[in-house]
Symmetry: C2
Subunit: 470 residues, 2 copies
């Protein structure tokens, strides 16, 4: 094909991958739910090359599939099976463009991994608070294209909230570049907001300017056993009322989630000698130089009312960074523990914070009434109203087979209850291929019509990541 | 006209204002820059009525001008002079819909004043941090349509950052309603972001769900004289490094701005007995129960390095709420002081935070080189990189006449320097009628084309606030 020759001339033949052995890893998603085929994989080495790659594709009416760290859960970066789509990998756009310590901003290319972006901020004495399990391999472009959430949304917001500026290549190769990092700029529609969370369906994010924050002097971390799910959100309200808006994480683990993790992480000591039904990992930031020695005493005081009220049944404080990381490993390894048990039917629900307990209770009851031997693995960012209400097959059944036969019915119930409570079927993972039908089902009417009108306005040829999201 | 009869039948004849004496106040903007004429002013009493009003207008191809508290600085809510545009006032949509103390959210109709929304949050023991001088009359719908900034953006963000959910009536009367207040929801394009800051050109915001925050236990307020503009931003970096991300405001006043305010507010004691060239008002929030008596001592310690370094020349601490409010009155009355002197040529510049000193220096030098007797009134939200670089006529000249003869040249210079430094000509006031030409000039090319494509996609009939913004 002429366009492949042109692409090779542009980015170098070594960066236009055609052989299946070379393109394979770009054609299957993280969860191996989708297996596609690519016309080729092209890896531009500069943003200027990306502009010209997209201009060429536009002229040749070639469909483009942007590809970052490939850690997404919904198949948003996988080409379809036609073999006609060009995968554009951003991996070589991995430059730290600028760091401004006065303005507290970091400007990076799209292919910089989240961990490398965090490290650049740390080296400058500042904090990039976006963080998640996949940070070693996920890339900033993908983080923004999916509006990634993660472990500190409670205090710092999602990827969207951390974005001050964006550079985007439009489907026809025109460049929208606003990387000045202005804190305030009310000059017309805030276009960057459209590309954040658009999963590459409106253009390709090539660079971004992110907000940085003062580094906390210390993090305080408490792992608590709580009476029930409602006690977790009540505890959060109590702690926030006392500590103010410096609570950075409020994560939940059900007894099952904890048991699975404990079975996987045989080297990590469990925080309590007895088992409880519900656990919360609470963390907050301390700034300045004003606490220090009295911190443990302060924390005991902080927790004594919820303990007296019976909300908190037991609690441990991390007394060292090592202890803190051990507590976090319990939370972060839930997905790995599920995988070790054959995988789960995953969900990514959010409801208003006050409804979380009701949601978890109602959904558990209805699922177990219908399938009494299901194993529920409920955990997640409860402080954001976001629970991963995951479901494992009954222990005596084959996980993959059970998912095939029961997955759709189980997910329908989990999503339907969320919907009736004003919730979302995708709090942080996006839509991609996996939840496109759910979007059509639950966001139908004017919302979907408006999305389609915007898609048609910005990508009239339908070349950007076709089949994803809409 | 038939449609006016239909509107009267729908909302009641008393709420379709036709006589000039009734419509006058809706047809002139806050700054009296624009005087228009309305076909009529309609005041729907419920959101359902708003939907039906807009459906009627759409069917009759009638242009609609949404109208909130009418406190905008750019003429965005004023009809043109044709007498063919219908003003839709949101003032009767003034209901507090819901307040959720667990989720920390407030849901209000568009016509609720900012002060009433703040009061509702306060009554529930929480904080709505959006605040600005006009809060007694500006309305939430207008705050969101212009993405208002104000006095606590440094810590809490702009109106956009505070918005969790939006209800919007599209130009043809279809309703987009997402008021659940989810903290996380990645289901397709985040449509609400388009309507925030769109100044009513894509639809009318009818209600919103806003983020609330824990109320600080106390605010600490320091008014400091600093060596120069650069010292102000360096001081902020120092304080943030020490106190962390609880600094809520960092406001700047030049000597001229201070002198004007002091002349206006004869009842307020000036903080210092001598005059300085540059002042900063710094404020931060304290949470929890852990400081108290030592606060003043802590603050002295906090400021001793910048005093030793010569950045801070003098400083006063507010020891009571009364003292705090007196310091704030100095800052908040700069616009009133300018008005008392015959008004100013106003600008609303932002640049990256590290560039503010350079921007103020360069612009002052160039303006005074050309017009040596200009009086510069520079002040603003310097912690956001946002300065109101206002210019008063030479004292011997008539302010209005000078503005007519010199305003365009002066503004061109002020904006051009901002542009060359990667800044914005409208940090927080928006575009409206006043800055439409600037938007075309500075945001031309792909950015403006993308905005026009979106406008055409969502308002194909061009009925929403025609002539504004684009």
């Amino acid at each position: 094909m002429r366009v492949l020759q042109d692409l090779a001339a542009l980015v170098g033949a070594a960066h236009v991958l055609g052989a299946e052995s070379q393109t394979d890893s770009y054609c299957v998603d993280e969860r191996a739910l989708y297996h596609g085929r690519a016309l080729a994989v092209v890896r531009p080495g500069t943003r200027q090359e990306l502009v010209r790659v997209m201009s060429l594709c536009h002229a040749a009416k070639l469909a483009m599939v942007p590809h970052g760290g490939n850690t997404g859960y919904c198949g948003g970066a996988t080409p379809d099976s036609s073999g006609s789509q060009l995968v554009i990998s951003l991996e070589r756009l991995d430059r730290i463009i600028a760091i401004d310590t006065v303005a507290a901003t970091l400007t990076v290319e799209a292919g910089v991994t989240l961990a490398d972006a965090q490290a650049a901020a740390t080296a400058a004495g500042l904090l990039l608070p976006l963080s998640m399990g996949s940070q070693g391999s996920c890339q900033i472009g993908g983080n923004l294209s999916t509006n990634a959430g993660g472990l500190a949304v409670l205090r710092y917001g999602t990827a969207r909230d951390l974005t001050l500026g964006l550079e985007v290549v439009l489907p026809d190769g025109r460049l929208l570049s606003q990387l000045q990092g202005l804190r305030k700029d009310n000059t017309g529609y805030d276009l960057k907001q459209l590309f954040i969370g658009a999963e590459g369906t409106l253009g390709i994010i090539s660079a971004a300017t992110l907000k940085l924050f003062p580094r906390p002097r210390a993090m305080q971390t408490v792992f608590a056993a709580v009476r029930d799910v409602g006690a977790a959100t009540t505890l959060l309200s109590h702690v926030r009322a006392q500590l103010g808006d410096n609570v950075t994480s409020c994560e939940y683990l059900s007894a099952n989630a904890m048991a699975q993790v404990a079975a996987l992480l045989t080297d990590v000591q469990r925080p309590f000698t007895v088992e409880y039904a519900h656990y919360v990992l609470l963390e907050w930031a301390e700034f300045g130089d004003r606490h220090g020695p009295s911190a443990a005493h302060d924390i005991e005081q902080l927790f004594s009312p919820p303990i007296a009220d019976g909300l908190v049944l037991d609690a441990v404080i991390a007394h060292s960074e090592k202890q803190r990381l051990a507590l976090w490993r319990l939370r972060e390894n839930v997905p790995a523990a599920e995988k070790a048990l054959g995988g789960s039917i995953k969900h990514d629900i959010s409801v208003p914070l006050g409804e979380v307990a009701e949601y978890v209770g109602r959904t558990s009851t209805q699922l177990l009434a219908r399938w009494p031997t299901l194993r529920l693995s409920v955990y997640g960012h409860i402080g954001d109203g976001n629970v991963h209400f995951n479901v494992l097959a009954p222990i005596e059944l084959d996980a993959a087979a059970f998912k095939r036969t029961h997955g759709a019915d189980i997910s329908a119930l989990v999503h339907e209850i969320a919907q009736t409570m004003g919730g979302s079927f995708s709090a942080e993972h996006g839509v991609g291929l996996l939840k496109r039908d759910l979007l059509a089902q639950y966001a139908g009417g004017p919302r979907l019509e408006a999305m389609r009108a915007i898609k048609d306005a910005l990508d009239p040829g339908g070349l950007m990541n076709p089949g994803k999201l809409l």
